[in-house]
């Protein structure tokens, strides 16, 4: 039927009271699938270890119907570790999604830009220089995240100053990131060499990026930061769409560009730093998760919620693989992510190159 004058609605929208949004069925379905997959892998991960439990026993235990030993294994031993993984995955993925969209560069992610390396240098500095191995635990608990934050901020300022001269397009930020990363990696090596052997050993464990031995003290700082980020991002997220059209159009359509960019990058740095402070530098999650959700949803930018779900899945799944594949040896989750992430980055570079060399 080719009725003339018939106006087909161009966008379907949803309205609940005063709240309205454009309805994108595919994006919603993809995000919902990612959440379900994360839930499934988490339940699986809660059941797998030295003491194996079936998923239905895990669910029963989570609902308070497990016996004493099941409760100990699931709620006390494994749950905090997996929640820390979920939180770190969310934080890294959201940090990456914000960075990519704000910089309008598919390769801009906190780890490739050297922000993660900056956080590492800060954290290792406190672990190794902040006193001997007998220094009080409290200083370390407060000191490591703060130092990671300062290191990440320092790296960000460096990157912004340098890219201010080189430009933010194409492969430039990546090259700047390599330089900044090299600088902070050098600093880390220096701290490790000059530190007492006990401190150096502990710093080395932290540097592998792992969920081993991680529990509530690591979980809460990330969870709190995600909450803060969510409060800031909910009203700001729609501005990311304007950012994609370039600074001029964003300003012309009413976005205070400089102020918004500073807040967005600040949130991205905060999330990267707290996650690094808690579980060490987990590379590639911030780069991969936004691209996966964007391509799966068929949208022009990664939705923050969808990226968060993918990030959580990647970290929990990698940790599960890391601690089971060579059991009883526990690999760091970061190693597994790097094995997938390395080829992904290569593929991304090749496809980017095709697009930009018109």
């Amino acid at each position: 039927m080719t009725a003339t004058g018939e106006i087909r609605p161009l966008q379907r929208s949803v309205r609940i009271g005063r709240v309205s949004a454009i309805w994108r069925p595919r994006a919603v379905a993809v995000a919902a699938s990612a959440v379900l997959l994360t839930l499934a892998i988490s339940i699986l991960a809660l059941g797998i270890g030295d003491f194996i439990m079936t998923p239905d026993r895990v669910v029963a235990t989570l609902l308070g119907q497990g016996n004493a030993s099941e409760q100990l294994i699931v709620l006390t031993v494994r749950l905090p570790r997996i929640l820390t993984g979920i939180a770190a995955g969310i934080a890294l993925a959201v940090a990456g999604a914000i960075m990519q969209t704000t910089a309008r560069n598919a390769l801009a992610s906190p780890d490739l830009l050297g922000v993660t390396a900056g956080a590492s240098a800060g954290a290792v500095a406190v672990i190794t220089l902040g006193g001997t191995a007998s220094a009080s635990g409290f200083l370390r608990e407060v000191g490591v995240p703060t130092a990671a934050m300062l290191g990440a901020l320092l790296a960000t300022v460096l990157v912004l100053v340098i890219t201010g001269r080189t430009g933010l397009s194409g492969i430039q930020p990546l090259l700047v990131g390599i330089g900044v990363s090299a600088f902070f990696t050098g600093a880390v090596s220096w701290f490790l060499i000059s530190a007492p052997i006990k401190d150096a050993a502990r710093a080395n464990v932290w540097l592998t990026g792992s969920l081993n031995q991680r529990s509530w003290p690591e979980f809460w700082p990330i969870a709190l930061s995600i909450l803060v980020a969510a409060v800031v991002l909910v009203p700001l997220a729609h501005r990311l769409d304007s950012f994609q059209l370039g600074n001029d159009i964003a300003r012309s359509t009413g976005v205070p560009v400089a102020r918004t960019a500073i807040v967005l990058i600040g949130i991205s740095v905060l999330l990267t730093a707290v996650s690094a402070a808690a579980v060490g530098p987990l590379g590639f999650v911030a780069l991969m998760a936004p691209h996966v959700i964007r391509m799966a949803s068929g949208t022009t930018r990664a939705s923050l919620f969808g990226a968060a779900a993918v990030g959580a899945f990647v970290v929990v799944a990698s940790d599960l693989v890391a601690r089971t594949v060579l059991a009883p040896i526990q690999l760091p989750a970061g190693a597994v992510i790097a094995i997938i992430g390395g080829p992904f980055l290569v593929w991304l570079l090749i496809s980017q190159r095709r697009k930009t060399s018109l």
């Binding site: 729609h238 370039g246 001029d248 159009i249 697009k355």
Partner: protein
């Protein structure tokens, strides 16, 4: 004061200097009259785009101010200003895969609140903007798949959906063949006559500027050297001063507007 005296967009004593070099604009004073189409012309590097971008708050003047209805535009909240004043930069680039309707919807940004992302009125306005620009059939096409003329119409549709009283356009016909230049300029003229939008545009083609604008401002070396109706500005004398161009100006028998026949360059230039 009668309504005819309301001063819409006004550049007061605006100077712009980039990084310690020669000033790109030297104390420019200009008042854009509401309801008119004003074209800014001049040779490359004369400061046309700089003036337009300063008036569109994309550039902070080194000295002087730009006023909209008497208020400094840099002192107004960005979102509120975006409901009155829009600017389309030269050759904007859409993100890969963005559809036309999604692009045009961005024009509604300054009108909506974060919890109210898509009101029924937004839908109607976007629909109308697509219809007016002839982009309704291409609503779901990807912007990066469009031809140059279609792409420019999509961006203009976005500006139309923004519903600003004043719209500034930086070389809206760049890279378009003559037929598509006409399409875009006819569209801009309709925005002016039908939607009562005040238009300021930077144009390279002098005959097109003469044909489609009420007023032409000619810039040279960051200063206004001529300002008036097309008949007043597009003259051999002005063209000689501004472009160092010897030219014959004839009257287009169809439009009754001046038409430039370029002759030869005056003096040596390299």
């Amino acid at each position: 004061m009668t309504s005819a005296e309301i001063l819409e967009l006004q550049a007061q004593n605006v100077s712009v200097t980039f990084g310690g070099g020669e000033p790109a604009l030297r104390s420019v004073d200009v008042t854009i009259r509401p309801g008119e189409i004003t074209a800014i012309v001049g040779p490359n590097g004369s400061g046309k785009s700089t003036l337009l971008r300063a008036m569109g708050r994309l550039l902070r003047p080194t000295d002087g101010a730009v006023l909209l209805d008497g208020v400094d535009i840099l002192k107004r909240p960005t979102r509120e200003l975006a409901r009155d004043l829009g600017i389309l930069p030269q050759s904007p680039i859409a993100p890969e895969g963005l559809t036309v309707v999604d692009l045009v919807s961005r024009g509604r940004d300054p009108h909506r609140r974060w919890f109210d992302q898509w009101a029924a009125s937004d839908e109607d306005i976007v629909n109308l903007a697509l219809e007016k620009t002839g982009m309704l059939e291409l609503a779901h096409a990807r912007v990066d798949d469009l031809s140059g003329g279609q792409r420019q119409r999509a961006w203009i549709a976005m500006a139309l959906a923004q519903e600003t009283r004043v719209l500034l356009l930086d070389e809206p016909t760049t890279y378009l063949d003559v037929a598509h230049q006409l399409d875009v300029l006819e569209l801009i003229q309709r925005m002016n006559t039908v939607d009562r939008a005040t238009i300021v545009m930077v144009l390279h083609d002098l005959s097109m500027a003469a044909r489609y604008s009420d007023r032409i401002i000619a810039l040279s070396d960051g200063e206004i050297v001529a300002d008036g109706t097309p008949q007043e500005v597009i003259t051999p004398a002005v063209l000689a001063t501004v472009f160092d161009l010897g030219a014959t100006v004839i009257l287009d028998p169809l439009t009754r507007r001046p038409h430039v026949l370029p002759g030869r360059r005056l003096g040596a230039h390299w």
